[in-house]
């Protein structure tokens, strides 16, 4: 048991750190893009969305697998899970995904998620004083047959990935590329 406790504690700490980092990145980009990491953007307002992109999840891949979005655009992602397994749609850099994969592996180990769904009870359990819900703004977990939306405002030209970080899925190729281009009409 001590091992498990410390694991969940470590997880909780890692989780909160990353959640914080996501916000910090978003905030950094918002305030001029002089942060340390690449600017992934920030949660957007659905009403202000410039366009809607439908992403279909299958086992285990996305369609489409390549998107081009202009910096400054707010996109409403409609993410539909056509597969039999639980999938995630997560916006970020490759490095962020790599970190998040470890968290997802821990969540799988703890039974909060299973290959086919979310155990909402376990997900909401209090783990060492830290909430463990999968509630990042840049990510949605979509159970088989379900459709979810994520609205995101892309702030700076960069290269991002959308990814499913359920253990093994990213590695099997369930990810796509996003080229965030310079805003239309911007000089250099």
């Amino acid at each position: 048991m001590p091992v498990q406790l410390s694991k969940s504690l470590a997880f909780a700490l890692a989780f909160s750190t990353i959640a914080g980092a996501g916000v910090a990145l978003a905030a950094g980009s918002h305030s001029g893009g002089h942060g340390h990491g690449p600017a992934i953007g920030e949660p957007g307002d659905g009403a202000a969305a410039d366009r809607t992109i439908e992403v279909v999840m299958s086992d285990n891949y996305f369609e489409p697998e390549h998107l081009t979005i202009a910096a400054g655009e707010t996109v409403r992602f409609v993410v539909k899970n056509d597969g039999e397994f639980l999938h995630e749609f997560n916006l970020g850099t490759a490095a962020m995904h790599a970190t998040h994969q470890k968290e997802m592996a821990t969540m799988m180990e703890h039974g909060m998620i299973t290959p086919t769904g979310i155990d909402h009870e376990k997900m909401q359990m209090d783990h060492g004083g830290h909430g463990m819900e999968h509630d990042d703004a840049n990510s949605v977990l979509v159970e088989p047959g379900a459709t979810k939306e994520l609205v995101w405002r892309f702030t700076a030209d960069t290269h991002l990935e959308f990814a499913c970080n359920i253990p093994g899925h990213y590695e099997a190729g369930m990810m796509g590329e996003i080229d965030v281009t310079k805003p239309a009409g911007s000089g250099s």
């Binding site: 397994f85 590695e171 099997a172 190729g173 369930m174």
Partner: protein
């Protein structure tokens, strides 16, 4: 014609017939899409190879060892001409392919074999996709080089993607002809064991655990007339990756960031390999040709005749060593993944040779019976609380037929006792790296990843998409894996093939095989013609395989949907075990093709 070097872009290949032409074996494409049909020519003959430092005569397919990679397309009607230029009979068995019984290539069961100087034509549809292989099923020819790989492209999109792929055929080569090896084992079963405990090693053992304990351990083993060093029957192998020895260093190229699919095939006659690529995580996506839910591992053990497909994604501009270390650590198979030809990475040293423990001697039960005192292997089911107590004694006696007693009711409804142990797969994955439920607790063979990370367990294998509906087995058949180590012959339920009646199954039933390993060797059991659903506790996601490996001291359950009429081979895929008796004919009676059987 090193077809395995023909790395190619999978996406490009997916939509073009050109990929087939790129593979040297394809000699003619008679059919034009959409009516897929391909004709392939294979010639089995002698060739000279040198992988051990001296020239030796090997038996080759189309002149190479291993033979070519056959690339088929799911749904393709295959016509394969096999010409025999040897002066003895030969045959080709399509390992893992679901084919009609007449096309399965087992002399004496499917057909008469391919006579010298003749050409035999196989015809069957490719009704599946994935990584498979093919090999001679005649005598001991497989050990001499008669094996090759099969890749079947699926019709639909695969549940994973990759930019490049390589077939990685692992095998073992011996300079001594296989018939001579077997004759040597018959004369002296430890002929090839040069890793025995000695007087000198007794001092080491005494230093480790005290003289009394070391001596007591020796006496325990001596009492059974067994040795803990008996990991492999044969030493002196050279281990090969795609036919190349470690110095010849098979190399697969990649561009950093690419996903590379490695299709591992264990075509060795006798060798289990522990496979790793230091510096890279591997994501296992397919086992025995069937997709599995992706699982990330640092290392995996591949039983003889199994296949595993993994995806690796080397990000750095550096070489990585592909290490396939035989279970008995008698050398290694080595290859390299590199951004450019000629690059190499460090080759790790061999890890210590494992030693068997008393757990490996527990004969598939958990009773801790004193086998030394019994002097003879006792069927596990005779233990108290066994699943079918009234039957097992009968079975042990000479009943004169090889079929197993039928359980009166659904076996699952009967109380499970302690002897139906961990290997029966409780749904939980192993709690730690050294607790694989498919090894006897405390087994000396339990694998550990070299980097302390994740080692693939059978318990991790979950079908990506179940092939069969879940249903209760209609009956259970006990398959006790038995043998006589001292005289070197192997058997099932204490009978060699030549002594046993076939196992008779009825078309449409679902049979549960209960494998009880009463020997101290690990046996990769292979059923022809039908899939084997490994019961690893994952319910509807239980993986579908063509080889199920059963470690010493364990009991493993597997189910078979009996959906293929005819006469099929069922055997241990360790070649010398198969050849000396660990083999059964399985006859599936009834069904749509029953009339065609005779």
């Amino acid at each position: 014609m090193k077809t395995w070097l023909n790395a190619r872009n999978s996406r490009a290949a997916r939509n073009t017939r050109a990929a087939f032409a790129a593979v040297g074996v394809v000699t003619a494409l008679l059919g034009v899409p959409p009516a897929l049909a391909g004709t392939y020519d294979l010639t089995i003959g002698e060739t000279t190879i040198n992988v051990s430092g001296s020239d030796r005569t090997a038996l080759a397919i189309n002149g190479t060892v291993p033979g070519p990679t056959l690339r088929f397309k799911e749904g393709e009607d295959l016509v394969i001409n096999v010409t025999n230029t040897l002066d003895e009979d030969t045959s080709i068995h399509w390992h893992g392919l679901i084919v009609p019984t007449s096309q399965d290539g087992v002399p004496g069961l499917s057909f008469d074999g391919i006579k010298p100087g003749t050409t035999h034509t196989y015809r069957f549809p490719a009704q599946q996709s994935g990584t498979y292989w093919f090999h001679s099923h005649s005598g001991l020819q497989e050990q001499s080089g008669v094996y090759g790989s099969i890749v079947i492209e699926p019709q639909g999109r695969e549940p994973f993607r990759y930019d490049r792929e390589y077939v990685v055929v692992l095998s073992d080569w011996h300079d001594t002809k296989p018939e001579k090896i077997l004759a040597n084992l018959k004369k002296q079963s430890d002929y090839y064991n040069y890793n025995q405990r000695t007087l000198l090693s007794l001092f080491d053992e005494a230093e480790e655990k005290g003289f009394d304990a070391a001596l007591a351990d020796r006496l325990d083993w001596g009492g059974m007339r067994m040795t803990p060093t008996d990991i492999a029957d044969i030493s002196g192998y050279t281990f090969l990756v795609n036919g190349k020895n470690p110095e010849q260093n098979w190399t697969g190229l990649f561009a950093p960031g690419e996903r590379v699919r490695l299709r591992f095939i264990n075509a060795a006659a006798m060798t289990y390999f522990d496979v790793r690529i230091p510096g890279l995580e591997m994501t296992v996506v397919q086992a025995d040709g069937n997709n599995v839910q992706p699982v990330k591992v640092d290392e995996f053990r591949i039983a003889v005749a199994e296949t595993y497909d993994v995806i690796v994604r080397p990000m750095e501009d550096q070489a990585y060593t592909l290490v396939a270390e035989p279970l008995e650590r008698g050398g290694l198979a080595r290859g390299t993944l590199a951004p450019r030809d000629g690059m190499t990475a460090e080759v790790p040293g061999l890890r210590p040779r494992p030693l068997l423990t008393m757990a490996d001697m527990s004969h598939g039960d958990m009773e801790g019976m004193d086998h030394a005192a019994m002097g003879h292997s006792m069927p596990a089911a005779e233990a108290p609380g066994a699943v079918e107590p009234p039957m097992s004694g009968m079975d042990h006696a000479a009943m004169g037929h090889g079929t197993m007693p039928q359980a009166d009711g659904p076996p699952a409804q009967q109380p499970m006792s302690g002897m139906d142990h961990a290997a029966m797969g409780h749904a939980m994955p192993p709690a730690s790296a050294d607790a694989d439920p498919f090894y006897a607790p405390g087994s000396g063979l339990t694998p550990k990843a070299a980097n302390g990370g994740k080692f693939l367990s059978y318990a991790d294998l979950k079908a990506q998409r179940p092939l069969y509906e879940v249903r209760e087995p209609t009956r259970e058949i006990e398959i006790r894996l038995t043998g006589n180590m001292e005289r070197y012959f192997w058997s099932i339920n204490d009978k060699k093939y030549s002594e046993a009646e076939p196992i008779r199954l009825t078309y449409g039933e679902r049979v549960r095989f209960k494998f009880v390993n009463e020997t101290m060797m690990t046996h990769p059991m292979h059923l022809h013609g039908m899939w084997t659903i490994l019961d690893n506790g994952n319910g509807k996601w239980n993986p579908v395989k063509h080889v199920v490996s059963i470690a010493p001291g364990t009991t493993v359950l597997a189910e078979v949907e009996v959906d293929a009429p005819g006469r099929w081979a069922f055997h241990c895929h360790l070649m010398y075990h198969m050849a000396t008796g660990m083999f059964r004919e399985v006859i599936v009676e009834g069904g749509p093709q029953a009339a065609a059987l005779n």
